[in-house]
């Protein structure tokens, strides 16, 4: 019986890191996907609505057919609007990713 003393502790010590690693991995994956979705949505909104979309939003730049409170007159069938948005995933394992996405409205 003495030989089995501490077995549970050892097993727990083995399993806990695996579970913790798995949970942290899931958390990291979620944060990356969240950041990606966030960046995509922000880029999409900015390329459609320009400065009307959260004018103080960080990490969003580009141009848009929307300004001065309305969509602009369509001048030419040759056009290109593009917006970029960046977001950062949450730090896990001392590491976080910068996610950069862009949204484009173009004729070419």
């Amino acid at each position: 019986m003495r030989l089995r003393r501490g077995q549970s502790a050892v097993e727990t010590m083995m399993v806990v890191p695996i579970v913790a690693l798995t949970i942290m991995s899931l958390y990291y994956l979620w944060s990356v996907i969240f950041a990606s979705e966030n960046a995509h949505i922000r880029a999409r909104e900015y390329v459609l609505h320009g400065d009307a979309y959260l004018p103080d939003a960080d990490g969003v730049t580009g141009d848009s057919p929307f300004s001065a409170g309305n969509y602009q007159r369509a001048d030419s069938t040759s056009f290109h609007f593009e917006a970029s948005a960046t977001d950062q995933s949450l730090g896990v394992f001392g590491h976080s990713d910068d996610i950069e996405t862009k949204a484009v409205i173009t004729s070419r």
């Binding site: 695996i18 899931l26 994956l29 979620w30 969509y71 069938t77 056009f79 173009t106 004729s107």
Partner: protein
């Protein structure tokens, strides 16, 4: 000993089960994350590419409007020439019912009008307006989600769609060869009733003496294009679909497909298709006068002689080259609910409900 032997490996089995469960959770979570991300990108691509089509059409409509303004301007200039600064035309010795110099001016007007009309017709044609718009939509799809442009449709072949070739027409009857109808971005009809005439001095007196001021016969010339009330009421319905490159766990598999497997995706065997729909439209412009009564009817639909200028500014006032584009919505009220399956109707696939253009809100 026997008791201990019976329990050996118990922990290994337990750990194996736990790991398998964890693995499934990780796989499912990964699946979900990627699917949601792809679905968001798919919708973004549908929105932006549909908007690109509407924007391009708006630009074409502005160009077409300018062509119509040009026709109206030519008509106005013609009238000014025929008015001859309010000095009657006079060709000594001429006793005919027309003045030869004024007739030459009139013929030149006809030629100039025909050229301006031809310019309009070409700009309004399907190949010059709708085709580049559809190309812009696919270019935008490619720029946002590479690969899906091959599975991007704008319902240009569905009857009732304003982008359907042959649904809308430019109609004109002019004196230049080949008059008829060609497919165009909207239904434009040309007014041919605009009347032109001029005043001139006739020399029918003794020895060719002036016999008095007379009005020439009335000539009906084709001038600007008019349209029905809201024409062009163009909306663009877009559909973007894509099959994710990675295989997913199929949570709602049906061998018959259309089981709304993944976030509205159609699951047919190994093919998990993500689909997104969007609607956009050009708005806020007017190509020209409508055939309504009142000011919008341009006040010049009868062949009244025009020596006394009238109505020429009316059509120009109703030519407003300020088309822009915006996203539109899909109205689900008529279906009696918000069943996402009704959206699949846009794909032209019958689910027991008829194609209904009234579902589109502008």
């Amino acid at each position: 000993m026997g008791r201990r032997a019976g329990r050996s490996g118990q922990a290994a089995v337990f750990v194996a089960l736990c790991l398998m469960s964890l693995l499934l959770v990780v796989a499912y979570s990964t699946n979900t994350g990627i699917a949601v991300n792809d679905r968001i990108r798919m919708q973004e691509t549908a929105d932006l590419s549909t908007y690109a089509v509407a924007y391009s059409e708006a630009a074409s409509l502005n160009d077409i409007t300018k062509k119509n303004q040009r026709i109206a301007q030519v008509a106005k200039d013609c009238r000014s020439v025929l008015e001859h600064a309010h000095i009657p035309w006079a060709t000594p010795g001429n006793c005919s019912p027309t003045d030869p110099m004024a007739e030459i001016a009139l013929q030149l007007c006809k030629v100039e009008l025909d050229l301006a009309i031809l310019d309009f017709v070409q700009a309004a044609s399907y190949s010059r307006s709708v085709t580049p718009a559809l190309k812009a939509g696919r270019a935008t799809a490619k720029a946002n989600f590479d690969g899906v442009e091959r599975r991007t449709t704008f319902f240009e072949s569905i009857p009732g769609s304003p982008t359907a070739m042959g649904t809308y027409w430019v109609s004109w009857t002019t004196n230049f060869a080949g008059g008829g109808a060609i497919p165009a971005i909207a239904d434009f009809q040309q007014m041919h009733e605009t009347a032109f005439n001029y005043q001139f001095m006739q020399f029918c007196g003794p020895y060719g003496a002036p016999s008095g001021l007379v009005m020439s016969p009335t000539y009906l010339l084709p001038t600007w294009f008019y349209k029905d009330d809201k024409n062009p009421d163009v909306w663009v319905a877009g559909r973007v679909a894509g099959t994710p490159t990675k295989r997913f766990l199929d949570t709602d598999y049906s061998s018959g497909g259309r089981d709304r497997g993944y976030f509205g995706a159609s699951s047919t065997g190994g093919d998990d298709l993500l689909v997104a729909y969007a609607v956009a439209k050009p708005y806020d412009g007017s190509v020209g006068p409508s055939n309504l009564t009142g000011l919008q009817a341009n006040g010049n639909s009868t062949p009244t002689p025009v020596y006394a200028p009238r109505g020429i500014e009316y059509p120009k006032l109703s030519m407003y080259d300020q088309y822009r584009a915006r996203m539109a919505g899909i109205q689900d009220e008529l279906t009696g609910g918000l069943d996402p399956a009704t959206l699949i109707l846009l794909d032209g696939i019958s689910l027991g409900k008829a194609w209904d253009t009234s579902r589109f809100e502008h």
